[in-house]
Structure formats: structure tokens, C-alpha cells
């Protein structure tokens, strides 16, 4: 099969009515996708720490059990943190969802193939780790169902969304880590954020 979905449209659809949704974006293209959908203090885009996105999502989901946490990351970033799927599978936070935007490439370094280009099934790994409803998404119809699962159904869940390997314009979020942290905490915790 070949991918037909477009990453910017997919991420915009995930975030179009985001409300109180808490978002962690993996470094590189997914951070730009989240930024293109509209910068928000409730987004925490990573500019480094490759492989950490899902775990940042886990710590956040455990700390804020009443709020939905969506990690949006790339296939290369998820491959670097594969063990975190096992860790998440043990904790089973119902409010955590992971969208892997899978273009089968390392997009920032010259579009080299990742393991998913050779058939490595991240959704299968996730299911084996206890993220039971995880699936690979190729079509609009599959994405419509995946979107519901990511945003509303009990987690943890991972959706591996196959997208075109496009080169598209960079849309950069703020890159000052201290700012990204502080504004996120204020948006989540209110004045208490600065009292801690």
C-alpha cells in the first residue's frame, strides 16, 4: 500500500477543536505540524530529547488524569523510544493517546528511510505492549475512526498514521525551552504554576 494522507491535514484535524486537550509534540516535522495547526500554550513541542515524547506524555497524563493528553510524534522519534510503549502498557493511563505521523522517513536529515519503511509495525508493537486498540491508518475512513479513538476513547492507544513523504514549509513554534515550559504550566495550573 502507499500513503495518501497528508500530515498537515491530519494534525490539523486532530487539533481543530482541541479545547482543553494537552499536546506533546515530538521533535522535527510533528512539532512543525502542531505549530502549523496554531500555536498554543497547551502544546509542548520538543526541539530535542529524541525518543522522549511518549514519556513526557506519560508523566503528564499521570499528573493530570482528568485531562486528555495527546502525543503527536514521528515514526523515527517513536522508534527511538520503543521501550516507552512497554512502560506505558504497564501504567495503562486511560487519558493518554499517541498519534504517530508515519512518513517512513527521517524528515529533518535528508528523508532517509526509517524501519517503518521496511514494514516495522509500530501499532503491532503497541498492541503487544497492552495498548490494545492501536492500529495502522491508511485511509480517510480509517482516520475518522482513529481520530475518535485518539481524542475520546479510553486509552492508552497508539495510532500509526501513514502519510505522504512530503517536503513542506517549516512552521516553527517558540524554541526557548524555559518559555515553553512556563507557559504550559500556567495554562494548565493557573497561578499555582508560579507558586510551586
Amino acid at each position: 500500500m502507499s500513503a495518501i494522507l497528508k500530515r498537515r491535514e491530519i494534525v490539523a484535524a486532530l487539533l481543530q477543536e482541541r479545547g482543553e486537550l494537552l499536546v506533546v509534540a515530538g521533535l522535527g516535522s510533528t512539532a512543525w505540524d502542531v505549530s502549523a495547526a496554531g500555536d498554543s500554550p497547551l502544546s509542548f513541542p520538543l526541539w530535542g530529547a529524541m525518543g522522549a515524547a511518549a514519556m513526557v506524555g506519560l508523566g503528564l497524563a499521570l499528573a493530570q488524569p482528568a485531562r486528555r493528553v495527546l502525543v503527536i510524534t514521528g515514526d523515527g522519534e517513536m522508534l527511538m523510544g520503543l521501550g516507552s510503549l512497554a512502560t506505558i502498557g504497564v501504567q495503562r493511563p486511560r487519558n493518554l493517546a499517541i498519534a504517530v505521523i508515519d512518513n517512513e522517513r527521517y524528515g529533518e536529515t535528508g528523508m532517509q528511510a526509517t524501519h517503518t519503511a521496511s514494514g516495522v509495525d509500530l501499532a503491532g508493537v503497541a498492541r503487544a505492549c497492552g495498548l490494545g486498540a492501536s492500529a495502522v491508518v491508511w485511509t480517510e475512513a480509517e482516520f475518522a475512526a482513529a481520530r475518535k479513538a485518539l481524542l475520546g476513547q479510553p486509552g492508552p492507544v497508539l495510532m500509526q498514521i501513514k502519510v505522504l513523504a512530503e517536503k513542506i514549509p517549516l512552521v516553527l513554534p517558540p524554541r526557548d525551552g524555559g518559555l515553553l515550559k512556563a507557559r504550559f504550566r500556567r495554562a494548565v495550573l493557573g497561578p499555582q504554576a508560579d507558586a510551586e
Partner: protein
């Protein structure tokens, strides 16, 4: 006998630590059991120590404090992720039981054990050493204040002689 694991647990309770990320170490066996038994704490066993750096960052973003327990060999697994801690000025408390120090019996533990302090310091982590059982509690208490009072990344290195493991047989027997 100085019950330093029980006292360390008291420090974590006092500091209102809610998430405890860990990769097991024989030296942390008791503390891990105490944390797992406490309903106010969420114990999070990790598949590799670097996961704990992300966990602590996410916990803090959501308003909770997280501690990271590991053996010195695990420090090497955390190095790149600690760049996020530094750049974002996330508070972080790591409690590290040392290997490759005094009386080590496994030569493969020595290189990382000897590199633990300089590797952490190279990444901007404040390193405090507890050389005896008596020093563990006050050192950890001060480290917790530094971490959450000053938004610092702090590692407490608990000396191998405090752990007191002398051989493979001794380690397996714990």
C-alpha cells in the same frame, strides 16, 4: 544499623513526590518496595533510565513532582535527554546508587561508575555525594530543596560502600 532507605523514603514523602520512575538496582530494592506500597506515590518501572527524564518533565508540566531512581550505569542512558532538562530548566531529582567505585567486583561496571559524576556535570546536573549511610538523608533533603526550590537538576550519588555489596553471590542473595 542506619536505615537509610527508610529515611530516603521519608525525604520523598516530605517533598510530596508523586511519581517514582525507576530501573531496579539492588541498592534501591527497599526504597522501591516502600514507594510501591505507598498509595500517594505512583511507581513507574522503566525499560531504560532515559525514560525517567521524560517522565519527570511531563510530571512537572502537569504539576507533579517525580523522582528518578537508578544505578550509576543508568546515568549514561540519560545523557542526551538531560539536554531537555537543562534547556527547559525542569527540576529533577535523581537518586543514584553507585557501582564501579570502592571494592567493585565487576570490571564492566568501572568505566561508567567512574564517569558518572563528570558525565552528569557535563550536562549541567548538580552532583552531591553521600559517602556514608549517615549522610544519605541530609544530602537527599538538601538535594530535594535545591531541585524544587531552585528548579535545578540534582543527582545524589550514594556511595558503593553504603550499599555494601561485595560479590555476585551477595548481590544475587538480596
Amino acid at each position: 544499623m542506619n536505615d537509610w532507605p527508610q529515611k530516603l523514603f521519608g525525604v520523598l514523602r516530605q517533598a510530596k513526590v508523586r511519581q517514582v520512575g525507576y530501573v531496579p538496582d539492588a541498592g534501591h530494592k527497599r526504597l522501591i518496595e516502600l514507594c510501591r506500597a505507598d498509595p500517594a506515590m505512583r511507581a513507574v518501572p522503566l525499560s531504560t533510565e532515559q525514560e525517567g527524564i521524560g517522565l519527570a518533565a511531563g510530571a512537572w508540566l502537569g504539576g507533579e513532582r517525580s523522582v528518578l531512581l537508578m544505578q550509576s550505569s543508568g546515568v549514561g542512558n540519560c545523557i542526551n535527554a538531560l539536554g531537555m532538562t537543562s534547556e527547559c530548566r525542569f527540576p529533577l531529582l535523581m537518586l543514584v546508587t553507585m557501582r564501579g567505585e570502592q571494592g567493585e567486583f565487576n570490571p564492566w561496571q568501572v568505566p561508567m561508575g567512574q564517569a558518572t559524576r563528570p558525565a552528569l556535570e557535563a550536562m549541567g546536573v548538580v552532583v552531591q555525594h553521600a559517602a556514608s549511610a549517615q549522610e544519605v538523608q541530609p544530602t537527599a533533603e538538601a538535594a530535594a530543596r535545591l531541585a524544587w526550590g531552585s528548579y535545578a537538576a540534582v543527582a545524589v550519588l550514594i556511595a558503593q560502600r553504603v550499599i555494601g555489596i561485595k560479590s555476585f553471590q551477595d548481590q544475587a542473595g538480596r
